[in-house]
Amino acid sequence: MVSTPENKNYKVIGTRPIRHDGYDKVTGRAQYGADIKLPGMLIGAVARSPYAHAKIKSIDTSEAEKMDGVFAVMTAKDLPRLGDIVRGNSEESGSERHLSENVMAFEKVLYKGHVVAGVAAKDQNTAFEAVKKIKVDYEVLKPVINVDQAMAKDASILHEDYLGDHLGKKVKNTNIAAHVRHESGNIDDGFEKADLVIEKEVDMQTVHQGYLEPHTGTAVWDEEDRVKIWTSTQGSFAVRDSVSKVLDLDVSRIKVTPMEIGGGFGGKIPIYLEPISAVLSKKTRRPVKTVMSRTDVFDASGPGPGGKVKVKIGIDSEGKILAAYADIRLEAGAYPEAFIEAAAKCVFSCYDVPSMKIDAYDVVVNKPSSAPYRAPASPQVAFATETVVDEICNIKGYDPIDFRLKNVAEKGTRTALGPKYRTIGLKECLEAAKDSDHWKSDLDSNPKSGKKRGRGIASGYWFNIGFKSSVNLSLNPDGKVALTEGSTDIGGSRASIAMQAAEVLGIPAEDVRPSVVDTDSIGITDVTGGSRTTYATGYAAYNAAHKLIEQIIEKSALKWDISKDQIEYSDGVVKSKTDSELKMTLKEIADDPPGGPIVSSASVDLEEAGGGFAVHIADLEIDEETGKTDVVNYTAIQDVGKAIHPSYVEGQMQGGAAQGIGWALNEEYFMSDDGIMLNSSYLDYRMPTSLDLPMINTIMIEVPSEEHPYGVRGVGEPPIVPPVPAIGNAINDALGLRLLNTPMKPSRITEALKRKK
């Protein structure tokens, strides 16, 4: 079913219609997680651990229960104790037991903010006051808050009962949940023969996705033991699966209705409050809504892993890479899974490397259980690799784009994990970067301000997952099409999915009305994440639209009493190939079609889209006296496969760049030694404001994916990968300083300048 997209003249794809859900979102009508109000609804609140690591000796909820306006109190005793089972399918890892413990602690709290109890009350303030009356007796333990502490010989152990997997060996009493290795060729030979070998180790602080909407969970548990959940999530089916595990209920007893979602970036894949609201509802038989505060969001929801990454690259005298080694140690947070396999897949993804070895460690620490954050683990490893590459170019005097082109990964190149790339567009991105106005422009290295300027470039990769999606179409009597799908819409995916159906049907985008529906109303659809939605759910819409055309032709054949193969369909008109009198618009065929309404549905389970690459160029201006860094010019170049709705593709590129810039310069979990995040507010977490960023230039390159009829690749994740190294490289260009720690904040710059002097 693969076409040659670049030769097609699309009518809908590549245009910029107003998104279907836009009107609700600019008028305040759109309902997000916290906006739901159900009759008789109670408000939930949770008690959280003030300690990063402690045993729970006892919990006394009696005072809270006695309070006026309190309807129910729960602890982990109200949840089933689950065994240590790996979850159902290969897209999900982690054990059920950990999933459940992260919702509410049983014997031990593993991070500050870990939930220990829940309350349902008549209103928010009463619920908060009740939480204060819950008394928990803790035995405080020493926390480990970074990979060095966690991997130390005498480290305090988070999971005494958990077996780490160290290259296949089962190991007890370790904070290294997994050590994996990938190896190809002989790196010792490679490094031996190398003309130049550069090694750098970067150290990155934990960061947060920073979505504006705090997590919520609203539930009703009825007398038939059916649970209805309303929540803001990247995957309603993922919520259904997770809640079914934690509550030990069949999935069919659970119906998840996704609300509009106020940002996720990976962090709205895990569940937090949904099972708590459900249990509180079971106890009260009333709807219960629970909402996190901003501090809760920082303290207890999905950060992106911090950690240390060491990369060593050797090149020959011609500037060809001979060998590469990576040692990757990432913080999983309280429960295993720091995306180390993704890290291994991404670390050398931009290069053709004949021999390599990768050691990666999944390390548990006393911080909130990490969640995916936009290209999980790829920015961390790219920082190391792209810094080493920049250093090589500096030392040898290579042009950084020419060096990358000389070693570029392209179709047929073996990836770090072994398999060969199919069609990818990194080379085209690098060539476009070289040809860009930005790269060709002079960097005013002595601006009037007296500050120093520098330019940096870096590349990055994300592999774009595929997986399952379902779409239903229904032709309405007015000739327009209703599309229902299960991919929650974080940033315009309703539009990009509807546009693909509209393209097939040859009708305007506005004539396909998309709705994101609950888990009872559509086939299983995997999360909006991994840059899969426009690709996979779009593919399902494409298939469903073709099936709808088959239906249209079939019903027309019945109506006209001619054979199907005499009928053709294009651009909203069905007609006989032979009899020019026989012709119907969609509206005409939709009006009482023989044998029932015209509907179709399709589902897919797709392979990866083939990977997306991004190349970013950053110009900085740095005040040497204060260490203040301003981004003055920024260009993001990316192979987007095919831009269905170019405005929203640009938006992904700009948004990813902005998050990466924040990560590079200021964002971090600033932890006390006892494991408390001290800057758990927007004030001190310091995400970029509108005044901190320039316009972000975008150059979209379209090298179609082989896996999608329109050549779509995921576009959401690659753009967060290059910014951190691009900025590090620009700082080095401006000041001759190689900063290897994020954030590269002002004090680090001034300290490094002093050391240099």
């Binding site: 204060t626 260490g627 310091r686 404001t689 005044l691 901190d692 004090s747 001034t750 300290e751």
Partner: protein, 287 residues
């Protein structure tokens, strides 16, 4: 949050009465940009909140022969949107324009910023270098204190039970006076100062007749760097002389290390910002 009642007195005496009755269980509400956050964060438990914005004196902006009188609850935007204030007191406007974003500036006041007594407060250094007098009302009547005596510790001020700040009196100076405030933040907006300096300069025949330098976020309270300030008095404002002031200011700074900055960085910043603010004040004073 502990539930509290709301009072909106219309006279100073009424306000004193309520504040006196509730003692430390009551707080004044001006812009609310600090007090409501702190009440929610359970920094204290309130039984009453006293909205002082309905007392006419508290939101005024009045020019007398000797002073500009700013009501303690006058929001920041009133200052920077007043062309005369901008012309006469650009240093005060620097602060008013930096506190929070536009939303915050609609509500936050210099008086509130002062009473909140944060070591990193954006307004206090500017008030210090302008030799501002605080007019305080209380059960025992009205008293006036210099602004540098107002902050007694982090989050602590010199007000006693039943007292509240009514207005800030900014003395008018000659035309060769000016001031400047600059803070260092890692972002360009919406941050708390890592370190900040306000400087004021008065010139007379090419020499500095008066100089005041105040430092923020480098001690338990904003600091009037008296010894540094004196170094420039009677001297020509040469680079060398300014450098001596900056170095002294750096010596005086005694910051802590926290999530917002390191000790070393803060001290270095004080030196840089002292120089920059003096230069800016000189430029404004026409020097």
């Amino acid at each position: 949050m502990h539930p509290f009642n709301y009072y909106a007195p219309e006279t100073v005496n009424e306000a004193i009465e309520i504040l006196n009755k509730y003692g430390d269980k009551a707080k004044c509400l001006a812009g609310g940009t600090d007090v409501l956050v702190q009440a929610r964060g359970e920094k204290f438990e309130l039984d009453a909140i006293v909205d002082i914005k309905k007392i006419p004196q508290l939101t005024k902006l009045e020019w007398t022969d000797s002073h500009l009188i700013v009501g303690a609850a006058t929001p920041c935007h009133v200052l920077y949107e007043d062309s005369k204030v901008c012309e006469v007191f650009p240093g005060i406007v620097d602060s008013a324009f930096l506190i929070g974003g536009i939303q915050i500036q609609s509500r936050a006041s210099l008086g509130g910023n002062l009473c909140n007594a944060s070591p990193s407060a954006d307004a206090i250094c500017s008030l210090i270098v302008h030799e501002v007098i605080c007019e305080i009302a209380g059960p025992k009547g009205t008293r006036e204190i210099p602004v540098e005596d107002m902050c007694t510790g982090p989050g602590k001020n010199a007000l006693t039970n039943g007292e509240f700040l009514v207005s800030l009196k900014i003395p008018l100076k000659n035309s060769e006076f000016s001031a400047s405030y600059e803070r260092f933040i890692p972002r360009n907006e919406m941050d708390i100062a890592v370190a900040a300096v306000a400087s004021s300069i008065e010139l007379s025949n090419g020499k500095v007749s008066s100089c005041r330098v105040a430092l923020a976020a480098v001690g338990p309270t904003p600091i009037f760097a008296k010894e540094a300030s004196e170094l420039l008095v009677g001297k020509e404002p040469t680079d060398e002389n300014i450098r001596k002031v900056s170095e002294k200011a750096k010596d005086i700074a005694s910051p802590i290390a926290d999530m917002r900055g390191t000790i070393e960085h803060r001290k270095d910043l004080i030196e840089v910002l002292t120089r920059r603010t003096i230069e800016k004040a000189l430029e404004r004073a026409g020097g």
